[in-house]
């Protein structure tokens, strides 16, 4: 039974802070360990920053189910030209987009990107342990 618990618009820089704070609070309420709360908050920070920097406008949707938390970041930006390449690069790159994506991928349990020139949707999942 999946239910939507948060939907936060990401339009200004400060929304990054708001989103990660709100979602960290939810994670705590649901019962995630502090370490996972931080991972989730950091991942949200990375992904929403990407929205501000590259797509200018988007939103975060948080869904809860019995197994954990699903966090979807989507925007109507120009899309990521080469998703695979962006994910492959290591930390030595100066491309902040790639760093943000890789970082979020490591912090969350599931990670999926759908991107084309009308927008990007990143679906992540953290299991409640």
């Amino acid at each position: 039974m999946k239910e939507e618990i948060l939907r936060i618009p990401i339009n200004k820089e400060i929304d990054v802070l708001i989103a990660r704070r709100e979602i960290k609070g939810e994670a705590e309420r649901i019962g995630f360990r502090w370490i996972d709360q931080t991972r989730i908050a950091t991942a949200v920070s990375e992904l929403t920053r990407n929205i501000i920097k590259h797509a200018y406008k988007g939103e975060v949707i948080v869904n809860k189910d019995d197994g954990g938390l699903e966090i979807i970041c989507q925007d109507e930006g120009p899309g990521i030209p080469d998703v695979e390449q962006a994910l492959e690069r290591g930390y030595s790159t100066t491309n902040s987009l790639g760093i943000g994506l890789i970082g979020a991928k490591h912090l969350m349990d599931d990670f999926k990107i759908e991107s084309n020139d009308s927008g990007t949707k990143i679906t992540t999942y953290k299991k409640l342990k």
Partner: protein, 406 residues
């Protein structure tokens, strides 16, 4: 001339008589004439057999011979009543042998004398033994069912094809807060549970009635409109009519809420124990002031590494430790993944402001690290815990006295 007519008349009467006699002889119902004192003075063969005697054996015997004394009184009263224009019909139980019993329906037509007193009776006897026996059995079984339904703590319910209640146990009526079992008639699960339980239960029953396959021992969560939640173990089977058609279901649900509660408690306790065990299996030991040691035993998968990190880091901050010695002499295997996790843990230790030292890196492990070309990233490694402690001493510039003791 009169003689000839008379002869014909007599012949006719004789023939009629013969016919009536035949009729009475051959009919299956018992027919008898009882005298004023209820002695048999005429019986047909059927009557003889009903009373279990050979032909003619009833002659001169009294009806009360075949009745218990109480029944005799009752029957005597009933036969000796002349009801005007009303057929005198009643049932009686007779003893036809030592332990043989039968039931007869009596149709009595009393005869009165010129003074209006009872003089005797024409009686028809019908054997109703079978019917009475069946009725008795039915009442007996009904009694069994009713006592079952009113005393058994399990919830028993008979439902029709639309899953509406037909008959239920008292315990179920009470479970729903109803005063009597009749109040449930025609209602269904939807009247007493929220849809969360009622819907799947209904679907189960419809499936049973479609396929004939029963459900046995299914643990279900009952959701009540007042918010109450209970757990039951349910068995449901299809009900059939005599022709073998499915006409409903019979179900029995046993309350296992307490059991479930304990199960959940136990599961939670086991989780807590598991956590404790994990914490125990990687104990963080105070070696000296400001020095912590964590021996890692067994396998180090990513889940475990994560927990070790958390535990270690929290302890470092809490105890204000400056050095964390991670001993891996008890670790089962070191591959690049494990090495990677160890390095990450060490780096996190450094970020928090302490120094991490890896000990227990024996010859084999050193070889594996070299073979795999793992870059330990500047992490200090020592082959034994002792070496690690010695290093710590020199770092902390401990006094010679303490070194002697250590």
């Amino acid at each position: 001339m009169a003689k000839k007519n008379d002869k014909k008349e007599i012949e006719r009467l004789r023939r009629e008589n013969e016919e009536y006699k035949k009729l009475i002889e051959e009919m299956s119902e018992g027919f008898a004439y009882l005298e004023e004192d209820l002695t048999f003075s005429f019986t047909n063969p059927a009557c003889d057999s009903l009373f279990g005697v050979p032909e003619g054996g009833l002659m001169g015997r009294k009806l009360e011979d075949f009745l218990s004394s109480e029944a005799a009184k009752d029957v005597r009263k009933k036969i000796r009543t002349k009801k005007k224009n009303k057929k005198n019909v009643f049932e009686m139980e007779i003893k036809t042998g030592d332990d043989k019993r039968g039931y007869l329906l009596i149709r009595s037509n009393s005869q009165l004398d010129e003074k209006g007193r009872f003089a005797g009776s024409f009686v028809f006897f019908y054997d109703i033994t079978k019917r009475v026996r069946m009725e008795e059995e039915l009442i007996f079984e009904r009694g069994l069912l009713d006592s079952l339904l009113s005393t058994i703590p399990d919830h028993i319910y008979y439902k029709d094809k639309e899953s509406r209640f037909i008959k239920v146990s008292k315990s179920l009526a009470e479970w729903f807060g109803m005063k009597s079992m009749d109040e449930l008639m025609g209602k269904s699960d939807f009247d007493f549970f929220t849809e969360e339980h009622a819907k799947p239960a209904y679907e189960d029953e419809q499936e049973i009635m479609k396929t004939g396959n029963p459900i046995e021992g299914k643990v279900e969560k009952e959701t009540h409109p007042d918010g109450r939640i209970t757990w039951v173990s349910t068995t449901k089977v299809a009900r059939y009519d005599k022709k073998g058609n499915i006409i409903g279901i019979l179900g029995i649900s046993r309350d296992v809420t307490e059991k479930r509660f304990w199960e959940i408690e136990r599961e939670e306790k086991m989780e807590a124990q598991k956590e404790e065990l994990i914490a125990l299996s990687t104990p963080v030991i105070d070696v000296w002031e400001g020095v912590l040691t964590v021996p890692i035993l067994g396998a180090l998968d990513s889940e475990r590494a994560s927990r070790v990190s958390e535990h270690l880091l929290t302890q470092i901050v809490r105890k204000r430790a400056g050095i964390a010695i991670i001993d891996i002499s008890g670790i089962s295997a070191v591959d690049s993944a494990v090495a990677d996790r160890l390095i990450r843990t060490a780096k996190a230790v450094r970020l928090v402001g302490a120094e991490a030292i890896l000990t227990g890196v024996g010859v084999e492990i050193a070889q594996t690290i070299a073979d795999l070309g793992i870059d330990m990233g500047g992490l200090k490694t020592m082959s034994t815990l002792k070496d690690g402690l010695r290093y710590v001493i020199s770092r902390k510039k401990m006094s010679v006295e303490e070194e002697k003791n250590g």
